[in-house]
Amino acid sequence: MARFIGRRVAWAIPVLLIVTFLTFWAVKSATDPVQSFLRINTRATPEMVEEYKVKHGLIGSTPEQYVHWLGNFVTLEWGNSIKGNRPVWPDLKAAMVNSLVLGLTASFVGITIGLGIGILSALRQYSKFDTAATGAAFVGISMPPFVSAVLLQVFFAIMITSWLNLDKPFLPVAGIYPPGQTEFDLWLRMKHMILPVTVVAIQIIAVYSRYMRASLLDVKGSDYMRTARAKGISERKVIMHHALRNAMIPVVTVAAIDFGAIVGGLIITERIFEFRGTGDYLLTALGNGDFPQIMPLMFIIVSSIIIFNLIADLAYAWLDPRIRLG
């Protein structure tokens, strides 16, 4: 197992370097950081432009620039944004925390409920529950977040508020805290996450319930399950000890990859709910052509996806011994 892990980790490193180099090249080509700097600092002197280029590793060939940029990145010299001259890290950190909190909460809620529904659907195939769950899953998959978000906002924030004649919205429409809140407050934070988490979770529940149902049905019909039953093992034990573990293999893989993408943000949901996460951060930075803001986040996103792919590989191997033997 250790050799398997070492091999996978070793492969992940060059992949990370190659992908981030390609990302660096693409972002630099698309945004032209020097021109972005000049557009905003219209009266910048040549010395200031030179300083900016040195600071952000924009001298020499593209590979040289990448190495320079990577050096700044790993030594945490992330510089300031072009727009507003703001330090990159504090804003990026805040955005990442928001996205991770939103994404992980929604994933936890969505995957837990989705797996539960999928298991019940598979165990009661073609029952009323299965039919209802299947129909609901298709609705959930088909409904884009910008529709479900607005519907939830109107219903929970406006209609219920009006029916109950409340002074403040029944559930908050937007933001991570109520206006004016400056201190950490767990309850308020959770309250503001209910609607955005629900929007994201709807799709996760729908998708994972389908994955789990299909995977478990597939396993239930396999030869070794019949063998287990033929040996007289109870159906409960067959399901719990044999079926679920094998049915989880593809689901775990998908979940790991999905987790890796969370750091990239949930752009639509974050925009609608004024939830300042990395999706919102990235859109704004791209709009400004703000290279110092874009690249660190891109590196983190790429790293996250690669790391979670690695975790998926390892989990896969752990769940299915045939993988590591191969």
Partner: protein, 575 residues
């Protein structure tokens, strides 16, 4: 198998080596550069600048006596040094948004005391009343010649009824300024401003999450705002919307061709836009018939100049006369090429996107291949517009109480290497005769003579097909009647300073005593000198609310002295 097991070690070493090299490379940066001070100035403590010989050539002198009681919220007196610092900051900061007007100042010095400001101008500068605004606190600024690294997250002091106690990308909080010397102290305990975009803002108002919004009007907004506890007030303010044509050769787009641009301009059916876009919002309101000014502000708008702008037959004749032909797709073509006209608006903006949906098929029917090419507000207004990265655009501009358009329409303000791309003439229009008229109008203090010059500039806009005015735009202020009491909010519907003009007069009805404002756009930074100030919402939510000015503008577009000043300033035109 052996080969396979060796590869990871090799790759791991490669990665470690790359990181080490990269880390070492990251240490090579060493240079630091500061903004170059203006050569004609000398810098005193905190950057306040004086020039001794400049007054000899002064063409105009402005003398202002500051209110002896006027202090910053930390108790520091507001003095001539603050005005001098503001001048230097706007003139010399590398990313300063505009140097227009500031570059006409020769010196800013204290007069009989540091509470008297004497400003010497190199030329007679008629728009002087609109120049000295957003005065900076010199005592908190290390180098007034470069404030680009100041005001990153705060404007730490105030000289208005409110002080900005907190600002972030999520919200801004204003609280009463304890050192405010005026008699219009705030009634509310605090004002909280949060970003809520167009649709979200109306939803937030309906849900009671915010108490006041200042949304852009769109068809259906009256229905969207219909509720027993919501009141809204439209007002003919100072904003106007128009279509602008990018004619700069730097882009070399289709409108760089004068004939093509004229033909397109003649094909804009403004009555159609009025009937479908504006009339549903404000029935019966007329089209605006002058460019860059509005009829309710001063005598500057000759409100008949664009009456005959729509002339589709004339457009066809013009193009055919220049050898353009309609191709098989019905588009005008010349030399085998069909120009593609990229129409840029900021999104989300239902009204402008609705205009695109209405007019793109109309333009296609007239033979013009127009495509939507939109972006968010920050990208459109702070990046693409200044860079001339569009062919056709549509936005609201504010007719200033002073009619000067030199800063946005003169040849010298066309972005170029000569002006280090600092110019704000985003249409890249350059008419030397019109620019001369602009310069002359800036030197003409007599209002009648100045109006005549402005009308001539307006006619040049018509003749050169620089833009097409559409509508003197109504502002809308909407608020919860169960949260805010009194008529003060309605006054903000037509106002240069948006909601902060009278926000100190609003009476909150909530137990907390606070008022929550939903902002349609949210600034990414709050430096009042740099490109951050290119955002109306930045100045409305932060700098206008706290930084003092000698004159403020009123809803009807006139200047009124603020309580920063004691007595009427004197202006002397030197022979």
């Amino acid at each position: 198998m052996k080969t396979m097991s060796n590869r990871p070690r090799w790759l791991l070493l490669l990665f470690v080596f790359a990181l080490v090299v990269a880390a070492c490379a990251g240490d090579t940066e060493s240079t630091t550069t500061t903004g170059a001070p203006d050569e004609t100035t000398t810098t005193a403590d905190s950057g306040a600048t004086t020039t001794t010989e400049a007054a000899v050539d002064s063409a105009m002198t402005l003398t202002v006596d500051l209110n002896p009681d006027a202090v910053w919220s930390d108790g520091t007196p507001i003095t001539a040094a603050d005005v001098a610092c503001t001048w230097n900051a706007n003139l010399n900061t590398p990313g300063a948004i505009s140097t227009t007007g500031w570059d006409q100042i020769l010196s800013v010095e204290p007069g009989t005391s540091d509470k008297q400001v004497v400003v010497e101008f190199a030329t007679v500068y008629a728009p002087y009343k609109g120049l000295i605004i957003q005065i900076l606190p010199s005592h908190l600024i290390a180098d007034c010649n470069d404030v680009s690294t100041d005001f990153l997250d705060a404007i730490p002091v105030s000289a208005r009824p409110w002080q900005l106690t907190s600002w972030s990308l999520d919200q801004a909080i204003l609280e009463p300024n304890p050192a405010y010397w005026g008699d219009d102290a705030p009634v509310a305990s605090r004002i909280v401003m949060v970003p809520r975009t167009d649709d979200g803002g109306i939803a937030a108002l309906g849900a009671g999450e915010v108490d006041f919004i200042f949304p852009q009007a769109f068809a259906g907004i009256t229905d969207a705002l219909a509720a027993d506890n919501i009141q809204f007030a439209p007002g003919y303010g100072t904003n106007y919307e128009g279509l602008y044509f990018m004619q700069g050769e730097v882009r070399n787009g289709p409108f760089a061709d004068d004939v093509f641009r004229e033909a397109f301009s003649k094909s804009v059916d403004r009555e159609l836009i009025l009937a479908n876009i504006y009339d549903p919002i404000f029935p019966g309101a007329p089209l605006l018939q002058c460019g860059l000014w509005v009829p309710t502000v001063g005598p500057w708008c000759e409100n008949t100049q664009f009456v005959d702008s729509y002339d589709p037959e004339g457009a066809v004749a013009l193009l055919e006369g220049e050898g353009w032909t309609l191709n098989g797709d019905g588009f005008w073509e010349k030399d085998g090429e069909v120009p593609e006209i990229k129409w840029m608006v900021n999104t989300p903006n239902p009204r402008r996107e609705g205009t695109q949906a209405l007019m793109i098929p109309e333009f296609a029917a007239a033979g013009f291949n127009v495509v939507a090419d939109n972006g968010d507000a920050a990208a459109v207004f702070q990046q693409r517009l200044p860079a001339g990265d569009y062919d056709l655009t549509m936005y609201i501009n504010t007719a200033q109480p002073d009619p000067s358009v030199t800063s946005i329409m003169s040849c010298s303000q066309v972005p170029s290497a000569e002006n280090q791309n600092q110019g704000q003439n985003n249409t890249f229009w350059c008419n030397e005769d019109a620019s001369a008229l602009m310069a002359e109008s800036d030197l003409t203090i007599d209002e009648t003579a100045r109006a005549d010059l402005i009308h001539q500039i307006g006619q040049a806009l018509v003749d050169d097909h620089v833009m097409v005015p559409l509508f003197q735009f109504p502002n809308i202020a909407a608020w919860r009647t169960d949260r805010i009491e009194g008529d003060a909010p309605s006054a903000d519907a037509a106002n240069y300073r948006a909601f902060n003009h009278s926000s100190n007069l609003w009476t909150p009805l909530s137990d907390s005593g606070e008022i929550i404002i939903g902002a349609e756009q949210w600034p990414e930074c709050i430096n009042p000198v740099t490109e951050c100030a290119n955002s109306s919402w930045m100045v409305w939510t932060t700098s206008f609310a706290v930084l003092p000015a000698i004159w403020d503008t009123t809803s009807d577009g006139t200047f009124e002295l603020t309580n920063l000043v004691a007595g009427e300033p004197t202006v002397t035109v030197n022979e």
